[in-house]
């Protein structure tokens, strides 16, 4: 150890290339587009590579890629583009009905969640206390067509929390502001009347009673306020679009979000008064849907005769409780009037909106697998990974890449904001250079493990923005520089290469969309190392697959755990709300727990009748990130029907006492056999983890009341089990219940008992011969409590 002597130094900022694809996967014949921004380089080289292995350390085969000739290979011009967060609704107004402020009557309800633009407190499971995104603006635009640069148009805003109306008068910015800022987490009614005939503007605020207000009316009596100003607004025609939830600022041809609102807005209407009558210009209902299924996607309905429908940008949170929410029904499809609200965030970002730099029409002869557009320039390198799906000719093995989980963890930066980051991993986090780059680019948005600037949880993941945690060489701060997500699943990819096993790549969104028909031709489906988030369609498809003779190799941990949904119209978008049960980094407020894109209630599948044990024999038991352990064989591993699994492995041999992640195959997040939660009666429990430390704590869903002593040395349920179960119909599953498992495959150049055992299973599972079922389930069922 060396002593601290020299002064501290700043981190050097290198030139950067960033980018993203428009989708995760494409079939031969389909096109995938690439979107690139350069910080520094005026040009870059683009080439197509096949990704074979990610982890760069000496403990594995190193980073492996193979160049593939493609139509986009070559030098490209480097241009820097802005990635601007901030969600809003934009209203197309071709007849300029909303342009002129004269005679306008604006009515809306608002529920500010960060009225003063600075947050303090202690949020979520990790105790987030710091916002490394920096300070926000004191202005938050509720609605209007205000152009921040030219100061033209009009807008209803919060300025330092105070309701304020802005307008332009003879080239001068005018404003009318109420005296007091609004309270956070309280509903208010706001009204602006531009009485042109009287030459006055009236601005009124009235607090509203609501079950979701932070305080009761009698605990915090709030008073209405109003104010009047003389005014003669200019009837100018600003270029800026009319928006709800953010203002606009021009950036070339684009109008970016500006001064985004944090909180809910609902019940918005605009009228125009003349001396003779009042005409409704627009009357938006955020709880109504055009769709037969009632889902609230990105179209916003105007119920007025003018039909000035809007479109959401950057995925504000819909299906949230509005100002008239009674708390009696929590399904937005049943009580749309109670869900007339949208929750906007000034840091929402689900589409950077960069122009297409180049495209790839996937050739018919390009084998299915993991690829990337490799972008390089002096001092800069970036990979834009994607998956090529199978064409007409399929392999017998498919790898289901855990793209939903990749999106959930995308751009995770908890280590910089949460007091408890170190506690949850039981050691000081190890950061990667990419983590620092992320800190310099807050505009790339947060993971679904984090909170927004206003303290509410992030619930959307998207492909269409730079995701630095998706870089194939990325190391996870919470796993001792180990692999996580795509880099971890590349361990499977390279192991399959050593097994001379061609595979087809499929993604979570593919399986969600296509269901069982996508799997029906495969003999074996291999999961990623951490398929934590899945949709109902995926679970249904996988269960049907194993029941119809398919063989599932679940080579991960904490799998099939919690609910996500893919937007049926924009599958690059994934929704992940958090319920109030199970292990979770934060949770959605009551009334906001149902996914807008599917209607699914948020939460863990175990609490919705579909525990992972039913599908894979094991389910989430514990997590810990200090060290990993090995497996020791159990009695079932010596059963004749399991003999093929242990060919070449000694009877008392410890399995996986090595690996890239924590030095063992059993660890990080682990699953165990639980017949009480549906591990099938015919499941053979082949092996269980060696001793884990007390850094491994019993999963929250197993802790009904807080108790001491929930670490591995005191709780029998804190363990990882390897199970095998042949099912009626010839199918079955082999599950390892550990995220660290696949990071042990490459040890000693794949000459080890983890690779041997996994290879034995793969080879047997690829054979047509049905798996042998020896247990009569109806006679042997003896379920014990978990």
């Amino acid at each position: 150890m060396t002593a601290e002597a020299a002064p501290a130094t700043e981190i050097r900022v290198d030139p950067k290339i960033f980018g993203y694809t428009d989708r995760f996967a494409a079939r031969p014949g389909e096109s995938i587009s690439f979107h690139v921004s350069c910080e520094g380089p005026s040009a870059y080289q683009a080439s197509l590579v096949r990704l074979r292995h990610g982890f760069t350390g000496e403990a594995g085969p190193g980073f492996l890629e193979t160049p593939v000739a493609s139509e986009f290979d070559g030098q490209k011009q480097g241009t820097q583009y802005t990635c601007q967060p901030g969600s809003y609704v934009e209203v197309a107004d071709p007849s300029s009905l909303l342009t002129d402020p004269n005679g306008l009557v604006i009515k809306t309800k608002v529920y500010p969640t960060l009225p003063l633009s600075s947050r303090s407190g202690n949020y979520g499971a990790y105790h987030v206390t710091q916002n490394s995104f920096g300070g926000g603006s004191d202005r938050q635009v509720i609605l209007g067509n205000w152009d921040e640069e030219s100061s033209s148009g009009y807008a209803l805003v919060l300025d330092a929390g105070r309701p304020t109306f802005l307008w332009s008068e003879q080239g001068t910015v005018k404003s009318l502001a109420l005296e007091n800022p609004l309270e956070g987490h309280h509903w208010y009614s706001l009204r602006v009347e531009v009485d042109t005939a009287a030459g006055q503007i009236h601005l009124t605020q009235a607090p509203l009673s609501n079950i979701m207000n932070r305080y009761t009316d009698h605990a915090l009596p709030l008073e209405s306020q109003d104010k009047v100003a003389d005014a003669a607004p200019a009837a100018s025609a600003p270029e800026a679009p009319f928006r709800i939830g953010a203002g606009a600022r021009r950036d070339g041809e684009r109008w970016l979000a500006a001064n985004g609102f944090n909180g809910k807005i609902g019940d918005v209407s605009l009228q125009r008064g003349t001396p003779t009558r009042t005409e409704t210009l627009a009357d938006w209902h955020f709880g109504r849907s055009h769709r037969d299924d009632g889902l609230l996607l990105w179209d916003v309905i105007d119920e007025s005769p003018n039909q000035l429908h809007g479109t959401c940008h950057n995925s504000p949170t819909r299906a949230v409780a509005g100002h008239s929410f009674t708390g009696l029904v929590d399904d937005f499809r049943l009580v749309p009037d109670e869900y007339d609200a949208i929750h906007f965030h000034d840091d929402d970002i689900t589409d950077a909106g960069w122009p297409t730099a180049f495209t790839l029409d996937v050739p018919s002869d390009l084998p299915s697998g993991v690829y990337a557009a490799k972008l390089t320039a002096e001092g800069a390198e970036q990979y834009l990974p994607f998956f090529v799906r199978a064409g007409e000719k399929k392999n017998d093995v498919a790898v289901l890449f855990s793209t939903a989980t990749y999106l959930a963890y995308a751009n995770d930066r908890i280590a910089f904001e949460a007091d408890g980051a170190e506690i949850i991993v039981s050691r000081t986090p190890i950061l990667d250079r990419e983590d620092l780059t992320l800190q310099d680019h807050p505009e790339f948005g947060r993971s679904c493990y984090e909170i927004h600037n206003d303290g509410s949880g992030v619930v959307f993941g998207s492909v269409r923005k730079p995701i630095l945690t998706l870089q194939p060489k990325h190391r996870a701060w919470f796993q001792a520089e180990g692999v996580w997500g795509l880099p971890a699943d590349l361990c499977i990819v390279h192991w399959l290469e050593t097994e001379n096993c061609n595979y087809d790549a499929i993604t979570d969104e593919d399986l969600d969309r296509e269901g069982y028909s996508l799997l029906s031709d495969y003999r074996v489906v291999i999961t990623g190392s951490h398929p934590e988030y899945v949709t109902r369609n995926e679970l249904t498809a996988l269960e049907k697959f194993t029941s119809k003779g398919g063989r599932l190799m679940y080579l991960g941990g904490n799998g099939f755990y919690a609910t996500v949904s893919f937007d049926p119209e924009q599958p690059h978008l994934m929704e992940l709300r958090r319920s109030d049960g199970g292990t979770r980094p934060h949770q959605s407020p009551y009334g906001d727990k149902r996914h807008a894109t599917s209607g699914e209630l948020a939460g863990i599948w175990r609490n919705k009748g579909l525990p992972p044990q039913k599908l894979a024999g094991v389910g989430f038991a514990a997590q810990g990130f200090d060290r990993c352990s090995y497996y020791e064989r159990l009695e079932d591993s010596h059963a004749p029907e399991a003999a093929f699994i242990f060919e070449g492995i000694g009877a008392d041999e410890r399995i996986g006492e090595f690996g890239i992640m924590g030095g063992g195959a059993a660890g990080a997040e682990v699953d165990c056999y639980q017949p009480g939660l549906g591990s099938p009666p015919g499941t053979l429990v082949l092996a269980t983890s060696g001793p884990l430390s007390d850094a491994y704590l019993l999963a929250a869903e197993e802790v009904y009341e807080s108790i001491p002593g929930i670490g591995a040395t005191e709780q029998p349920g804190v363990r990882s089990d390897i199970v095998y179960c042949p099912l009626e119909g010839g199918g079955g599953f082999f599950s390892v219940g550990s995220i660290a498992y696949t990071a042990s495959l490459s040890h000693n150049n794949y000459d080890n008992n983890v690779a041997k055992m996994t290879g034995n299973v793969l080879r047997r599972f690829r054979q047509a011969q049905p798996l042998e079922v020896t247990l009569n389930e109806t006679e042997t069922v003896q379920v014990v409590g978990s």
């Binding site: 710091q130 000081t428 190890i430 800190q439 850094a695």
Partner: protein, 142 residues
């Protein structure tokens, strides 16, 4: 040392009716004041316990095995230090694919929101020892 910044996530802006002190001046108590008062009591007790626990033997136990397992007293001290406020906290930065490792301090506003301290370590365990030594030094000086 400061373990946390507040007790809950309530906005700190809520104003309650003013009360008069005996001398006639106004006392503006807020929810933030109350949370802060409660936290300071906790921190006093927490810090007092930590000072009792943070012995040379504990420091030696950590140095022997930074990743544990630790006895209860050492584990409590390690958690206390690790649970400190994130601002200014030490983290480890990998400087290469197989090490070495450096120590950085989280500093919002610096490039990467991190300031790199000068030491370089050739094992991860030594980097952990380096972090612990810095925290102990800060603790003893606080």
């Amino acid at each position: 040392m400061k373990a946390r910044t507040s007790l809950d996530s309530a906005d700190q802006s809520t104003k309650w009716p003013n009360k008069l002190l005996p001398n006639g001046s106004e006392l503006m108590r807020t929810s933030a004041d109350r949370s802060s008062e409660l936290m300071s009591i906790f921190e006093q007790r927490f810090s007092s316990r930590l000072r009792r626990d943070f012995t040379d033997e504990v420091a030696a136990a950590y140095d022997r095995s930074p990743l544990g397992p630790h006895d209860d007293k050492t584990a409590r001290v390690v958690r206390a230090l690790g649970n400190a406020s994130i601002n200014g906290k030490e983290v480890i930065l990998n400087l290469g694919p197989n090490g070495p490792w450096g120590i950085g301090r989280i500093t919002v506003g610096a490039p990467g929101n991190l300031v790199l301290l000068p030491s370089t370590f050739y094992t991860y365990e030594n980097a952990l020892r380096g972090v612990f030594a810095l925290r102990r030094q800060n603790f003893l000086e606080s």
